[in-house]
């Protein structure tokens, strides 16, 4: 059972997404996809609302969430880093790139940094094999990434964060 009560507007947001797909059980994956797009992850409370809206068991929803590696119940960082582990990227050294990201950020795959800024995930082929190995941060794509560039990519976002904070301060 959910321990955290969702804010009313959050619940409304989920309901709107469900309504967009006509509250159809068959649209579950699309609904989950869109809701995860909005929150970054799918906590238990969110799944309960979706199950209720689509008139299906929560267990089924949870079953789908745990089946597809794309869905996650763990909060993602503000800048989700994804390293492609598709065949092309893999043979061109994606594993070393991943190892470097893990070393720099001190987190494992599927985890977020303590400040909640970065999280690391693996994905399978973004369809840019010509740029292998590929790393995406949020919507942005980095191609031909070598392990020695990892530090620079992270620094780029750290700068962005610092600038943002300077502005608000």
């Amino acid at each position: 059972m959910p321990e955290i009560k969702l804010a009313e507007n959050t619940v409304q947001l989920i309901k709107d997404v469900c309504a967009e797909f006509e509250n159809k059980e068959s649209e579950l994956i699309n609904v989950l996809h869109k809701v995860q797009g909005k929150f970054g992850y799918l906590p238990a409370e969110v799944q309960e609302v979706i199950a209720k809206e689509l008139k299906m068991g929560v267990a089924k929803v949870y079953g789908v969430v745990t089946f597809y590696s794309f869905f996650t119940m763990i909060p993602q960082g503000e800048f989700p880093i994804s390293i492609c582990m598709g065949t092309a990227c893999y043979v061109r050294g994606a594993e070393q790139v991943l190892a470097e990201f893990k070393r720099q950020l001190k987190v494992e795959v599927g985890e977020s940094t303590d400040d909640g800024k970065f999280s690391i995930n693996c994905l399978r082929c973004v369809g840019a094999c010509g740029l292998a190995p590929v790393v995406t941060v949020g919507e942005k794509v980095f191609g031909r990434v070598a392990p020695n560039q990892v530090k620079k990519i992270i620094a780029e976002y750290r700068d962005e964060i610092n600038n943002e904070e300077a502005k608000t301060a």
Binding site: M1, Q47, A51, V58, A59, V61, Y62, F67, S69
Partner: protein
């Protein structure tokens, strides 16, 4: 099986998945035995629409589990036990309470009494290779006596009592409704089935004032046994042990509900299923097939045919009609068999003429069918005055604790025939004509829905959505 095929050693050991055991008040999940056939999942989601069980995770680590890998007792599980009924490997089973019963029987300081539900007598024989649909009422009583129970009673007695209370409640609500009272909730829904009660508490909490407040026959029996009967016998409440033989897994959960306890002492102490009783009889080396036919003890062993038909879908409402008709019209019923209420269709409806007053009756068995009727009520589309709901397909004869029928509907039909046969063979077929029920009201309860009856025989329901 291994012996049959001559397997003494497993030559090809492979990796095995292991998973924690999950024990709830009624059902145990031992996932290590699961072969992922997913019949339970189909039953839980498509037939019962409870939606508690689903395959989760992926590949080798796939298991059938409630959402978020919670234990069953934290989920919306109704304990209807239909998952248990379809599980081919025993990964899902009822909690075995036979040990508790044996211990109680062995304790010389306890008076142990037993009640048997109507559906048990129509199915127990199957466990002893008798033909499906054989009534074994007499042998059942004989076996229980040999097991050492002090008094052998019948849940049907309490079923008659349920009809007195529920029937009176129906007439009272109906009377107010006809007089134009808008606050009176109709239809009235039966409340004998504990899985159904838990189902609406989880799924339709806003309608928890619609079902009858009458307790189930099992709980009425326990309540009367530990007050009226204990007093009569001069036995202290804590020295009286009430055991139920039920076709049902949810009854194990029901007897543990807090509202059915007095100072922590439950009205019904232990519940074992038809299957567990069969195992207990075999364990005790009783040759069931050659037992003589014996009679129930009095006062709580006498019942009418109306009490017997509680065991099948349509039976409770037929029993209620027999009594409510005569109380309302003050005339004798021209017939006792209401064929329009009988059958096996998932949702049935019929109109019974109460001497000029048409009473619309709905019947649903299987929680998926119940959900449909409830959604109609929610939408204000329901025109029924009374609805009977049973969680298990077929009613109690198809209960989760009955001998495995492996989805064979012809077995359910034969059990149903057996129940109607027992009804026809009864001298008394209307609950309000049961002499021991009349005596119980005279000596102890006053009249139906009296303050005392309300205290002992009625209950309340809770919102379980949080």
């Amino acid at each position: 099986m291994a012996h049959h095929l001559g397997i003494r050693k497993i030559h090809y050991p492979g990796e095995m998945s292991t998973y924690r055991e999950d024990t709830s008040p009624a059902i145990i999940r031992e996932i290590d035995k699961c072969i992922m056939c997913r019949r339970c999942e189909m039953m839980c989601n498509e037939v019962q629409t409870v939606g508690v069980l689903s395959a989760i995770n992926r590949g080798f680590s796939t298991v059938v589990s409630p959402a978020f890998e919670m234990n069953l007792d934290h989920s919306a599980c109704t304990y209807c036990g239909q998952c248990v009924a379809v599980c081919p490997t025993g990964a899902l089973t009822e909690v075995d309470d036979t040990g508790k019963v044996i211990r109680a029987l062995a304790d010389p300081t306890k008076t142990v009494i037993v009640q048997t539900a109507p559906a048990v007598r129509a199915a127990l024989g199957e466990e002893f290779d008798m033909e499906v649909g054989t009534l074994v009422t007499g042998k059942l009583v004989a076996a229980l006596r040999r097991l050492g129970f002090d008094h052998i009673f019948d849940t049907d007695f309490a079923a008659d009592l349920t009809i007195m209370e529920e029937g009176t409640e129906l007439l009272s609500r109906l009377g107010k409704h006809l007089a134009g009272d808008k606050d009176v909730k109709l239809p009235i829904l039966t409340s004998c089935c504990p899985a159904w009660v838990k189902f609406f508490e989880h799924n339709f909490p806003e309608m928890k004032d619609i079902p009858s407040t009458a307790r189930s026959p099992q709980q009425m029996f326990g309540s009367i046994a530990k007050t009226y009967f204990a007093e009569k016998m001069g036995v202290k409440r804590e020295d009286l042990v009430v055991v139920s033989i039920m076709p049902c897994v949810a009854k194990k959960y029901e007897c543990g509900r807090d509202e059915f306890k007095v100072d922590g002492n439950p009205d019904v102490d232990h519940v074992i299923t038809t299957r567990e009783l069969a195992a207990l009889i075999k364990l005790s080396s009783i040759d069931f097939n050659s037992l003589p036919n014996e009679e129930f003890d009095n006062p709580m062993g006498e019942s009418s045919g109306a009490g017997v038909i509680f065991g099948t879908t349509g039976g409770v409402i037929e029993a209620a009609v027999r009594t409510a008709y005569e109380i309302h019209t003050k005339k004798e019923l021209p017939r006792l068999d209401f064929d329009e209420l009988r059958g096996m269709e998932g949702i049935r409806e019929a109109t019974i003429d109460f001497d000029g007053l048409p009473i619309k009756i709905g019947i649903a068995h299987g929680l998926g069918n119940a959900r449909k009727l409830l959604e109609d009520i929610q939408a204000g589309k329901s025109e029924f005055h009374a609805i009977e709901i049973m969680s298990c397909p077929g009613g109690c004869i198809g209960g989760g604790g009955q001998p495995y029928h492996h989805g064979d509907a012809s077995i359910l039909k034969k059990r149903q025939m057996a129940i109607y046969e027992e009804d026809r063979n009864k001298a008394i077929r209307k609950s309000h004509e049961n002499p021991y029920i009349i005596k119980l009201y005279e000596e102890f309860l006053g009249k139906p829905m009296s303050e005392k009856a309300h205290h002992l025989l009625h209950t309340e329901y809770f919102d379980r959505t949080e």
